[in-house]
């Protein structure tokens, strides 16, 4: 129950911030809604706009008006793109979800396998080297990795494209070439995101597994003649499951935030890049709309993790 209260608290905080910040701007509050063009508006149109955003009413009414329009799916009107925010964020969100979702799935899957092997073969030379490399990668920021990959593979070796998500003339090509071009453009940004995420997952699984690597129940399982694959995944790696779920829930919500520098470097037309451009253009309604969407993703991630606990741990399940 207190969890739900926590979610509502976060949502209320963000909504409050979204509501307050534009009204704290120095000068005309209208600037935050329509941009600099506010200066050249005719008085009639200005009044019309003020009525539309309820700026002529006292603050509590303004807030109610703000909430009401949000509930109707109105995230505001982007003055840079001259379109409703809801319409603009669709396609970029698709690209971000594609890119980040793929990175999320791949780095989780590969990270678990790598973590399991790192723990079981921890004395081997390769595992020690990989452990060092994982710690190194984990401490570097995503944009640095991205720049390095861009330099090496696009600039020096010319293996991958510089920017974008599709070939320039993609609409005219066959569907096969279309798909290939899409994958081709995705390789480097995907690799960058994965290099940031995979080591963390592997280290987490390794640490959780090492705690029970020679636990009595593992020895028993071996004595019963169970296969090694069953022992390592069903018995040992299971110990890392709860922290892994926590981490995945957190990461799920932070995908957009983490994707911003990477999408900017590779000029990938996702929501992160859109947010970046909105920030540069001071397109406040668009910034706020994107922020709200990503906070909803954060809360969804947390709720999913909560649900994951219940599936994974009978102690949590039977608590309430």
């Amino acid at each position: 129950m207190s969890r739900v209260a926590g979610y509502l608290l976060v949502l209320a905080f963000i909504l409050g911030l979204n509501f307050t910040l534009p009204r704290l701007l120095p000068g005309e509050p209208l600037t935050a809604f329509v941009g600099e063009q506010e200066l050249v508006l005719t008085p009639e149109f200005r009044q019309e706009l003020e009525r539309r955003y309820a700026l002529d009413q006292p603050l509590p009414q303004q807030f109610i008006h703000y909430l009401a329009s949000l509930l109707q799916g109105d995230l505001g009107y982007s003055f840079y793109y001259q379109a409703p925010v809801v319409k603009i964020i669709g396609p970029p969100l698709f690209w971000t979800i594609l890119l980040c979702g793929l990175s999320f799935l791949l780095s989780t899957g590969l990270g678990v396998i790598l973590g399991v092997e790192l723990a079981r073969q921890r004395e081997r030379v390769w595992a020690r080297a990989a452990l060092g490399l994982a710690l190194l990668l984990e401490s570097l920021p995503g944009f640095l990795l991205g720049m390095g990959l861009l330099m090496l593979f696009s600039l020096k070796l010319g293996l991958f494209p510089f920017f974008g998500a599709l070939e320039v003339a993609a609409t005219r090509s066959s569907s096969g070439a279309f798909g290939a071009g899409m994958l081709w453009h995705m390789v480097l940004p995907l690799l960058t995101l994965m290099l940031g995420e995979l080591p963390a997952v592997a280290l987490l699984v390794r640490a959780g597994m090492l705690k029970v690597i020679n636990a009595p129940f593992v020895v028993t399982a071996r004595a019963r003649g169970l296969g090694e694959a069953r022992i390592k995944y069903r018995y040992q790696a299971r110990n890392a499951l709860l922290p892994l779920i926590t981490r995945l829930g957190l990461r799920f919500g932070m995908l957009l935030g983490g994707a911003i520098p990477v999408e900017v470097i590779f000029a990938y037309p996702g929501a992160g890049q859109l947010l970046f451009h909105a920030l540069v253009k001071r397109d406040y309604p668009l910034i706020q709309g994107l922020l709200l969407v990503s906070i909803l993703a954060v809360l969804a991630g947390n709720a999913l993790a909560e649900w994951g606990y219940r599936l994974a741990d009978p102690r949590v399940r039977n608590q309430t």
Partner: protein
């Protein structure tokens, strides 16, 4: 020369057992010295136009100049001041706030503790990079604003860890005894909680500093940090536009990338080593 020995390791085993800590400290010390003494050793303003644009390296300007003729080496030095300054400041402020929240929570207990901890739970779900980005879109991102904003979103994790440890301390017999004899809150904090938490305080400070350096560099790289202060992220942002131009990247992108990478790695090495030193169960 008389060597000062760590009393826990009279034969110098510390160095052999935790080489990461020594290496990390050495790297960090070099970078801190560069930030502190750099402007005296190499007196050249990063804002002055000292040569023609994109001038190649020379004796006077070892890394050459950028696209408007400013010295790249002094940009690197002043960048170290900004990045490290913000990092350490956020580490300090964030850790202090965490401590205050955790200790007042444990000392007061009851409903106060409950509400505060729910607040911490909620606060932890907010992604810091996004929120700081939103803030700097509305408030001009001066260094002080950045420090405050980054601290605002980095105290919650530490508060939870400190509270857990302080609760354990609180139930120790010697603390119970002190409370029974009427020890005051400040006395308990000074005599029992701070000494019992000091290793966590150091680790938390390192983690927060590392995160702040990382976040600041990301913001600066996106052009969202203080434009009045040169920073490594800013160098990388401007340098990236010229990355395809011959070997320019070797003296424009590589130095700040290395400096940033080494700072982050050294902080991670120190933290990782000390964590194992403090927590014997982690030694595997």
């Amino acid at each position: 020369m008389q060597h000062r020995r760590n009393p826990n390791y009279p034969d110098g085993r510390f160095r052999r057992r935790y080489p990461g800590v020594i290496i990390g400290f050495s790297i960090l010390a070099v970078i801190v010295l560069l930030a502190l003494l750099g402007p005296w050793v190499y007196p050249c303003s990063p804002w002055e136009y000292v040569g023609r644009p994109l001038a190649p390296p020379s004796w006077a300007h070892p890394l050459g100049t950028n696209d408007v003729g400013q010295d790249l080496l002094s940009e690197l030095i002043y960048g170290a001041r900004t990045s490290l300054g913000i990092g350490f400041a956020v580490g300090l402020v964030g850790t202090l706030v965490s401590l205050m929240v955790a200790l007042s929570s444990v000392l007061k207990g009851g409903r106060f503790d409950f509400v505060l901890m729910r607040l911490v739970d909620a606060w932890l779900t907010i992604p810091p990079l996004l929120l700081v980005m939103l803030l700097v879109a509305f408030v001009p991102p001066k260094v002080s604003v950045l420090i405050l904003a980054l601290s605002l979103f980095s105290w919650a994790g530490g508060a939870r860890i400190f509270r857990a440890q302080a609760l354990e301390l609180r139930s120790e017999l010697y603390v119970e005894a002190a409370v029974a004899m009427g020890a005051s809150g400040p006395y308990l904090v000074r005599r029992h909680f701070l000494p019992g938490l000091y290793h966590l305080i150091i680790l938390n400070f390192l983690v927060l500093t590392r995160r702040a350096v990382l976040l600041e560099s990301s913001l600066a790289f996106l052009g969202l940090a203080d434009p009045q202060h040169k920073s490594w992220g800013m160098m990388l942002q401007y340098g990236m536009k010229f990355m395809a131009l011959g070997d320019l990247w070797v003296r424009w992108l590589l130095p700040p990338a290395l400096a940033l990478g080494l700072t982050l790695i050294s902080l991670a090495l120190i933290g990782f080593g000390l964590e194992r030193r403090f927590e014997p169960t982690l030694r595997t």
